[in-house]
Symmetry: C2
Subunit: 223 residues, 2 copies
DNA sequence: CGCCGATTTGAGCAAACTCAAGCAGCGTGG
DNA sequence: CCACGCTGCTTGAGTTTGCTCAAATCGGCG
C-alpha cells in the first residue's frame, strides 16, 4: 500500500473514466499469451503474478462454492482488463471461452505502467472503477430482476460492449450464461425461447448467435 | 484520469490491503457531518462532491429500479469508506440507518489526501479494492445461495465486521436486510425464525439483536 | 450416416413470493 | 400508569417462478 498520489491529486481519478485506450497496431506493452478454448488462465488460490488485457477472444472469471456451485462474475471482451486483485492469492478463477490472446502485465512492473505517460496505469484505475460499477449493476440484476429481465439485460449489455449492434455472437455456452445470471441452463434456454416467440429476439439455427429484433422491448425489460 | 503512480509504482497497490488506519482521537482530516436515523446522505443523480468515512453509526448505499425495487449494495460501519464514484453523478443513493457521524472529504481535496504521508489516499485505494471483493462475494450470495445460506453469510459477515463476537446489534430493519440479500421481508423473518428453532441463533425480544449460538453451523451454511 | 455434446422441451416439484392477518415493542397522551 | 395507535416483525395460506429430473432434438464432425 504505497500508492502515491503526488502529481495529480486524487480528484481527477474519480472523475469520468474515459474509454480504454488501446493501440490498434499491437504495440501495447505486456507479453502476449495465447489460450485455447476452455483453457485455464489462472485458478482460485494461485499466487497473483500478472494482470491481463484481452487482445482477442473472451474470458470468464468466476468463483466456486465447495459443492461446485459457480458464479461467473464477469465476461471479458477485447479491451477489457481483468485479473486485478487486492491480495497475494487469486480469489477468482479465469478461463478462456474461445481461442484468446491476452497481454499480460506483471503487477509490479513499473516499466510497463509508467511508459507512455502512464496510459496503462490510467487504464488500470479506470478498469477498477468500471469493475465496481458493473458489479453494482450485476448485484441489482441478481438480487431483484426476473429471469426474463436478467436475460434481456444480459443481451443488451453484451450488444453494447461488443459493439455489434443487432446481431450478437455469443462466445459462451448456456451453462456459462446461467452461472452468470444466477439461473439454471434450462431457465436460460426457456427464457430465450420465449423472447423469440414474442418477437423480441431471433435465434438462428447456429445457437451461438442472437439477433435483437425489438430493442425497445428489451430496454423496457432492462428496468 | 490523471492519477500519478510516480513514487511507489503500481505493484504494492495490489498487494495486501492493510486494515484501515483510523485515528481514535478524532483528528482525522475531513469535515464532520451528522445525520439522523433515516436521513438521506445523497441520492441517485446527485452531483458527486464528497466521499465519506463512517465515524459512528451505519449507512446503507442502494440502487433503485424504476418500479421501486431496491438493491442495497452495502452497509457501511465505522471505519468504512463509501461514496467513491467513477463519474460526476451518483449512481447509488445513501442514507443513514441510525444516528450517524461521517467524515466528509472533497474528492479533489489534495490537502486532506496528502496529509499524514498520504494515509487517507492509501485508505481510499484499499477501500476500492475491498468494495470490489465484497461485491464479488455478494454476487455469489445473490446468484447461487439459498435463503438460509444468505442469512447465515450475512450474520457471519456482520459479526466479523462489527467485531462483536456472538451478539450482533442490527442497525438495519428486516426490509433493509431483505433488499440486501435479494429476498422478501417475510423470507428473512421466516429464515431467522427457523435458524432460531434449530438452535443456530437466538432472537431476544428486542428484535434488533441476534445471538450467534452455533457458529460452526453458520459457517457450514456459509459454504 | 451416426455419434456426441449442447440445447431445448416437458412434467412435476419446491423454494421463495404474495396477500392477508395477527402480534409485539414503544412512544404518546389521556 | 395504562390504554391507544403506530410501525415493524412474525406467521399463515395459497400461488408462482424457476428448479429438478428426464427425454427428445439439434448441430457439428468424423
Amino acid at each position: 500500500m504505497q500508492l502515491a498520489l503526488a502529481t495529480a491529486g486524487l480528484g481527477p481519478v474519480f472523475e469520468a473514466a474515459p474509454a480504454l485506450r488501446s493501440r490498434q497496431d499491437g504495440t501495447d506493452a505486456g507479453t502476449r499469451r495465447r489460450f485455447e478454448a476452455g483453457e485455464e488462465i489462472y485458478a482460485e488460490g494461485d499466487r497473483v503474478v500478472h494482470f491481463y488485457k484481452v487482445v482477442s477472444g473472451a474470458v470468464r472469471t468466476y468463483r466456486l462454492l465447495s459443492d461446485g456451485r459457480r458464479q461467473i462474475d464477469g465476461f471479458h471482451l477485447p479491451g477489457d482488463i481483468f485479473g486485478l486483485e487486492a491480495g497475494a492469492e487469486r480469489r477468482t478463477g479465469a478461463d478462456a471461452l474461445t481461442g484468446t490472446t491476452l497481454a499480460a502485465f506483471r503487477r509490479g512492473d513499473r516499466e510497463a505502467l509508467t511508459g507512455g505517460a502512464g496510459a496503462l496505469a490510467q487504464e488500470v484505475v479506470a478498469a477498477m472503477l468500471r469493475a465496481l460499477e458493473r458489479a453494482q449493476d450485476h448485484m441489482m440484476l441478481l438480487g431483484r430482476k426476473s429471469a426474463r429481465e436478467r436475460v434481456a439485460s444480459f443481451l443488451l449489455g453484451l450488444a453494447e460492449r461488443a459493439g455489434t449492434d443487432g446481431a450478437i455472437a455469443l462466445p459462451m455456452s448456456r451453462t456459462d450464461i446461467a452461472d452468470h445470471l444466477g439461473l439454471t441452463i434450462e431457465s436460460v434456454s426457456r427464457t430465450l425461447t420465449r423472447l423469440e416467440r414474442d418477437g423480441v429476439i431471433a435465434l438462428p439455427a447456429h445457437r451461438r448467435t442472437v439477433l435483437l429484433r425489438d430493442k425497445a422491448a428489451l430496454r423496457r425489460l432492462n428496468a
